[in-house]
Symmetry: C2
Subunit: 385 residues, 2 copies
């Protein structure tokens, strides 16, 4: 299958390119290098900062003999995206080309504007190009569980059928996102759902929980092929940050009470989920939604698990509560359905002590690079920038 990966330079992008390439697919990957540039501008270097795409593609070719065609391209440039698709003729597109950070989107007016325009225009452009060239192309878009917020009822997988005053209707599940970033992901889901209804596109939306992990089968022992492991408060995800704090002998910082519960997923499972979605496309005219995570934990539970994993390695881990910079429920009901991907064959990697120990050991090996100043929250949700 010819698969185009938009946002190929990110945490998930290059790992996805290699995974699909290893399976024998023809893969092309593009990126505008936003996250890389923003991390440099904000002085938030990842623990691992992989080489640019062309270099990784060369390393991968040397390792696997397989070619991934990569290119610097901004998906918000409609003409450029159209030319690329006209030439490469993808049968499926994996869409990661979004500003991926909630805190970044809450920094100020400029970052909010960038997040809104980048995320929605990239999605609109993809729809327009697919609609024009071949409406049968399968769009696999990375969403986020964060679009749902924390409603007091079960979170279903995409849709909600309800009875109101004796009549019944099925809606797309209503979203109550907690950051502008999450809002834009809900908005681009609405865009996709709309154009599916209109032009009978075939779309899979993967509402993913926070991802953790470093290792993939394809990267093997080559550190240059590992993802850009961020642990800072802007681009890092919570478990990666906790592991880094533990590895560096710093207290784990819990925002507020720590009862915030989310669904988590191992990076390896993300790759499997994307593969399963690609291998089992929905028919045209279906907007399919999967809730892409494997287990739920509260922040407190995560901290406890990291503490135990640290202790198993002989490291004492402190846990500290800090004022919550976000505006969110710190104790709430949370019961999201996540059946679809399991039914397609997902066999989860769970968050065991062994998995945490492996991550911890790796980060400990790079402890000298950890900058403690990057981990304190500095973006507040509660005031205009």
């Amino acid at each position: 299958m010819r698969v185009l990966v938009l946002g190929a330079d990110g945490y998930l992008g290059w790992a996805t390119c290699m995974h699909l390439s290893a399976l024998g697919h023809d893969v092309a990957g593009v990126d505008n290098y936003f996250r890389r540039d923003a991390a440099r501008r904000l002085d938030l270097p990842p623990l691992l900062d992989p080489p640019p795409l062309p270099q990784r593609a060369r390393i991968w070719k040397g390792l696997s003999g397989r070619e991934v065609v990569v290119q610097a391209l901004d998906v918000t440039d409609l003409a450029a995206l159209f030319r690329l698709c006209e030439e490469f003729r993808p049968q499926a597109v994996v869409h990661y080309a979004e500003q991926p950070s909630a805190p970044y989107s809450m920094m100020g007016a400029a970052e909010a504007h960038f997040t809104l325009v980048n995320n929605l225009v990239s999605t609109l452009n993809l729809v327009q190009v697919v609609g024009r060239l071949d409406p049968g192309v399968h769009i696999v878009k990375l969403g986020t569980m964060g679009v749902y917020g924390t409603p007091n009822i079960d979170i279903e997988e995409g849709y909600l059928t309800l009875t109101h005053k004796g009549r019944t209707h099925t809606f797309l599940y209503p979203k109550t996102p907690g950051s502008l970033y999450h809002l834009t992901k809900a908005q681009d889901s609405d865009l996709l759902y709309f154009y599916v209804r209109l032009w009978d596109l075939a779309v899979t939306d993967l509402n993913q929980g926070p991802v953790y992990g470093l290792f993939t089968d394809e990267a093997g022992g080559d550190e240059r092929l590992l993802p850009p492991f961020s642990y800072d408060d802007v681009f890092g995800t919570v478990l990666n940050r906790f592991v880094t704090q533990a590895a560096a002998g710093l207290p784990l910082t819990i925002y507020g009470a720590g009862g915030q519960t989310r669904g988590y997923i191992n990076l390896k499972d993300t790759l499997t989920c994307v593969r399963l979605a690609l291998e089992n496309p929905p028919p045209r005219g279906e907007y399919r939604v999967f809730n892409q995570f494997t287990e739920t934990f509260s922040v407190l539970e995560l901290a406890q698990m990291v503490r135990q994993a640290g202790e198993a390695l002989g490291t004492k881990v402190e846990v500290r509560h800090v004022p919550n910079p976000r505006r969110e429920e710190e104790s709430h009901y949370y019961n999201p359905v996540h059946r679809g991907l399991v039914e397609l064959g997902l066999n989860p990697h769970l968050l065991t002590g062994e998995v945490l120990g492996e991550m911890l050991s790796f980060v400990m090996g790079h402890r000298d690079r950890v900058r403690p100043d990057l981990m304190a929250p500095r973006v507040s949700w509660g005031r205009a920038g």
Copy 2:
């Protein structure tokens, strides 16, 4: 009260400026003249094409002795909006500054892009400026009933409380819009709702049905103060088009079966609704929604009413069904609640034979200007542009 009207040049904008000015409020109005420019570019001149804002402000000052400060300004220019608000210090902002046409948004990729970026960035900029300068400023945003689509259950006023698997939650009412324009209106409602939750803004969202009419108390007999009456398939609303077709001796063109039912409102009532919202602001932290229409009709019913009004004036009116260029239900359940504005004091002008006769007579008096070629639908929902 100091009220800033964004989109002051449009169908509702200048009428609102005069209405609020006549009530003694200090009014400033801005516009980027998008609709005027687009109508010229697309060769879709309105039946009435009022003079630019500065000239209308001068006429209004001559008539009323009251000053409305007007300015050409694009609300998507954050710095310009910030400067204006810093200087004028509005206590309330009426936000009409959006690309207002569903067919325009469905023309092609460029128009879709413009609609998305203009509508969302104008709303985001307003939020950012209010959040920075004074979060207590009341934002009154013109929404549309079209965001709801035609669900099989009652459309409540803004929110939906539902019980699912024995648990209860109140969501913002889920939206299923039928055009990209309507989608952007749902998306900017989501933006406003989000920032209300975050920064405790005070917002009223007026989900308005299609507006009809020409006359306002403030314009009186001066035709130069009437709104830009569009009857074309892009910028015209359905009843204004039917009246124009009848006045010009052309058949009323019904899209498809004609069972499409919507809530309608007289232009005069729009002004009253905006005034009522301004005079009764919600507390900070409330995102308040009103469904702003007074009666529901199917397209077929409207056509019958226009036919009868024409016959009362001695004009034979034909009705013709044409293939529906839109993708929508042509027969559906429709029962939207519209209580909030009535509770605040709205006393509706209903769509009587007299009201229709008055519109018909006026348009007949300008029959020579009607261009029949502007009324056939030319934008199809069903294919990529």
